[in-house]
Symmetry: none
Subunit: 144 residues, 2 copies
């Protein structure tokens, strides 16, 4: 297979001031979308909506999660984000930030720390290699 299919969706690096050119789920949102992130995380784990609902002990219903992933809810409660962060094994703060909430000690401080929401912990060796290759491809294509 080729990387082209994914490469086409990339081109929307924010810096140029050009309008983001995302797929149907369009909205403004300063960082990349929370909705897309949640959808990607779930698919990366290979879970269904109802499986996530179960994994959160019914804290997040499948119907609600669907609305979240489709951008119909903009600011879910921090507690909802916490539940999802646990299931997806990503840092809670990352989801908070994408939801537009201010983080502790963010204000005033000049320290700009970027949170890696990418903390999938069950990568196989092959997957890791594939991802590294793909990352190299991405960076070769987009001189930022």
């Amino acid at each position: 297979m080729t990387y082209q299919a994914f490469g086409t969706t990339l081109r929307s690096l924010r810096n140029g001031g050009t309008r983001p050119r995302r797929k149907p789920s369009a909205f403004i949102g300063q960082p990349a979308e929370l909705s897309a992130l949640l959808a990607d995380l779930r698919r990366a784990k290979g879970l269904s909506l109802r499986e996530v609902e179960e994994a959160t002990d019914k804290a997040v219903s499948n119907a609600y999660l669907s609305q979240l992933e489709n951008g119909k809810i903009k600011k879910p409660s921090p507690n909802v984000l916490h539940s999802l962060a646990e299931v997806y094994a990503v840092p809670y703060e990352a989801l908070m930030e994408k939801a537009g909430y201010l983080l502790p000690s963010e204000n005033g401080g000049g320290r700009r720390k970027r949170l890696a929401a990418f903390a999938i912990d069950d990568l196989t060796a092959e997957e890791e290699e594939e991802l590294l290759k793909y990352l190299a491809f991405l960076r070769s294509r987009t001189p930022s």
Copy 2:
């Protein structure tokens, strides 16, 4: 000055309210409720409701702050709490906790699950999302 002075300022609580009993305020240990804490903090600073509204750059209206202090709003947005934490010079997390939100250090507290051999730390948000998408794609094509 005695604490009696504080009592007189509070004499006119909710008239028909179901809460004639005065709760211990911030002077004695932890205030039980967010509302009491916010009220105490503001009085400690000697600010009026409208002065706080001004200090938060209209982020928190005086009317809304009044409702907050009277317990009519149970879970204000984290961003509201952040604004108030700044004005009152108290840690943001403290207000978050009082409001019933879960804090980042909730699970375990120990650091772990860093993706091995993966140069994640300098990922841009866009790269991160692209990688997630790609991983989802990989796994959808080869279901284990």
